[in-house]
Amino acid sequence: MSTGGESSPPLPADPRVRQTRLLVVVLAVSCVVMALVSVWWGTGQLKISPIKAIDTLLDPEGASRLAEVSVDNRLSRVTMAFGVGIALAVAGALLQTLYRNPLASPEITGVTQGSVVAVVCYLVWGPAGAGDAVWVLPVVGSVGGLAAGLLTWAVTRLGGKLDPLRLILTGVLLAGVLGSIVALAIISAEALDQDIVQWTVGSVGTATWERVGILFVGVAIATPIGVAAIPYANSLGLGDDISQGVGLNVNAARSLVLVAAAVLTASAVSLVGGIGFVGLIAPHLVRRYTGADLRRLVPAAALAGAFLVSAADFASRNLRPNDIATHFGVSEEVNPITLPTGVYMAVVGAPFFIHLLRRLP
């Protein structure tokens, strides 16, 4: 069969391998810079202005207090942002390839909305109390998210083949239904609870080291599944006929990739709420440099996601409506509130989404 290697000339090196390496280094450095900037600079809710920060640093007692505040609050926030960004970006990259659709994102599996619904319903109608252990909400969110993902999968499977278009339609339908349940829960809540509202758009403002630990347990479970899913997702990206032709059991492979994406998504949204757009944008930001092959795309997209969410969180702490209003001298009328991370993600995400739509054939 084989003609032997000697007859065919060696292939020229792939420039995208080098580009990917460079991009990964640039993104990793950007993340580290973002982490440093987030921890040591900015006002945020804790009112540590740069000058005060320097003042405090000069005072030995103040330095330890500042370090405590910065490290415990801000570093845990940044770490949370990184974890969430990585999980959602990887899920997005897997799903865009799997669905053969550039507009695919973790939201269309139903997992995000499922998780938000479970948590919001638990907070409004459930036995939620101040004494709940720190792991209760993440578990409720994960169970809700995975249940919704499973429901999307099962409804599509019952109707026949697990083809991408049918999965997308089922996911969109389910997300719509779940979204209205969230609205119902919010309306029926006695008082407008800021926590619930923040949850629906997603915020890393609730980060503590304990919660970061829980997030990383989820990510630790999801990562091996995600890595195992990469070759399957790559192949499924070429269409069912090709995938089966090269030896995949198409339905089983697609289920594996969906499980990987669902667990990644659930581990993130069950801790910070329904943060959107990052899973959509991060893969697009890096794809033209890494190429479509997920072996290169996934690591770069993960870092891009980490950067995006940490940047959005940085913006949410330093670009508050009240600060902007103060700048224009109308501070009295503006509620000094910190908007959730998801709002800033959407501010960047929505125009990018329109840009994507414009470039589609």
């Binding site: 069969m1 084989s2 292939l11 070429l238 090269v246 794809r287 479509a292």
Partner: protein, 274 residues
């Protein structure tokens, strides 16, 4: 059965195939063989079931009745991975995602051979390199597939199938959407692979002159039934062209190859049952 057979026959045999989609029956008791080391062309008018038969032969569609054996093994008893090491399929008009290079695409052909993590070993890289060389795309290996011309793109997809290193190759209308020069380029490549590597080829072709020029054996389908089967000269007759393809034509020997050449004159009077 093949426990006793010393040498495995590299052929593809479909026997008494009934198949269809949901309630619509497309194939009725079709027998079709792609003989070892030969090029077999599957022809027939639109909607005659050519592509459906190819799908059944490649295991993409389960038949309602009948058996398909690839290299002596029943396709329904084999794992998808095992089928993929014996038979490679190039479906009609496949599409690549954006930013996918020729190399990325062709590497996918090694799926059935690589480990569970998809790591390519030395022999996988060699197979990819050979396949890309065979289709003459070494220079284009780092180009994105969707930026290639139609002919180059079809050769890239063919390289994916070749990287599977299978004895049997199934092609569904490999010349669709190509201009005449690229059509011949792809068909000559298929012929050369058959000559040099002894590949058994089963391909659906639309153009009867392509089939006559490039195949050793032809199978003609009409409304899901085989109506003729044999070498091009015995299959292609004036009556068959009129009755099956609805065209009045003369058949003359190609002055260069002595193969049959169809020269159509007019559309035949259509029968009601079309």
């Amino acid at each position: 059965m093949n426990a006793l057979t010393e040498t495995v026959v590299s052929d593809l045999r479909a026997a008494a195939i009934d198949a269809g989609y949901d309630k619509r029956k497309v194939l009725h008791g079709v027998d079709c063989t792609a003989f070892e080391g030969k090029v077999t062309a599957l022809v027939g008018p639109n909607g005659s079931g050519k592509s459906t038969l190819l799908k059944v032969c490649a295991g993409l569609l389960a038949g309602d009745a009948g058996t398909v054996t690839v290299c002596g093994n029943d396709i329904t008893t084999m794992k998808t991975r095992e089928v993929a090491t014996r038979l490679a399929l190039l479906p009609q008009g496949p599409a690549t995602p954006p930013f996918m290079t020729v190399r990325d695409l062709v590497e996918q052909g090694r799926f059935a051979r690589v480990g569970p993590m998809g790591m390519l070993k030395r022999q996988d890289h060699d197979a990819v390199r050979d396949a890309i060389h065979l289709v003459n795309l070494t220079e284009f290996v780092n180009r994105d597939v969707d930026a290639l011309s139609g002919g180059e793109r079809q050769r890239a997809w063919l390289a994916l199938a070749l990287a599977q290193e299978t004895p049997v190759l199934a092609l569904d209308e490999p010349t669709t959407f190509l201009d005449i020069g690229h059509q011949w380029e792809v068909l000559e490549l298929v012929r050369r692979l058959n000559d040099q590597r002894g590949l058994t080829v089963l391909m659906v072709l639309h153009d009867l002159n392509h089939a006559a020029s490039f195949s050793d054996h032809m199978v003609v389908l009409q409304q899901g039934r085989v109506v003729a089967d044999g070498d091009p000269w015995s299959v292609l007759t004036v009556d068959l062209l009129r009755d099956v393809f609805g065209v009045e034509a003369s058949i003359v020997p190609d002055p260069r190859t002595e193969r049959p050449l169809i020269v159509p004159h007019a559309a035949a009077q259509r029968q009601v049952a079309d």
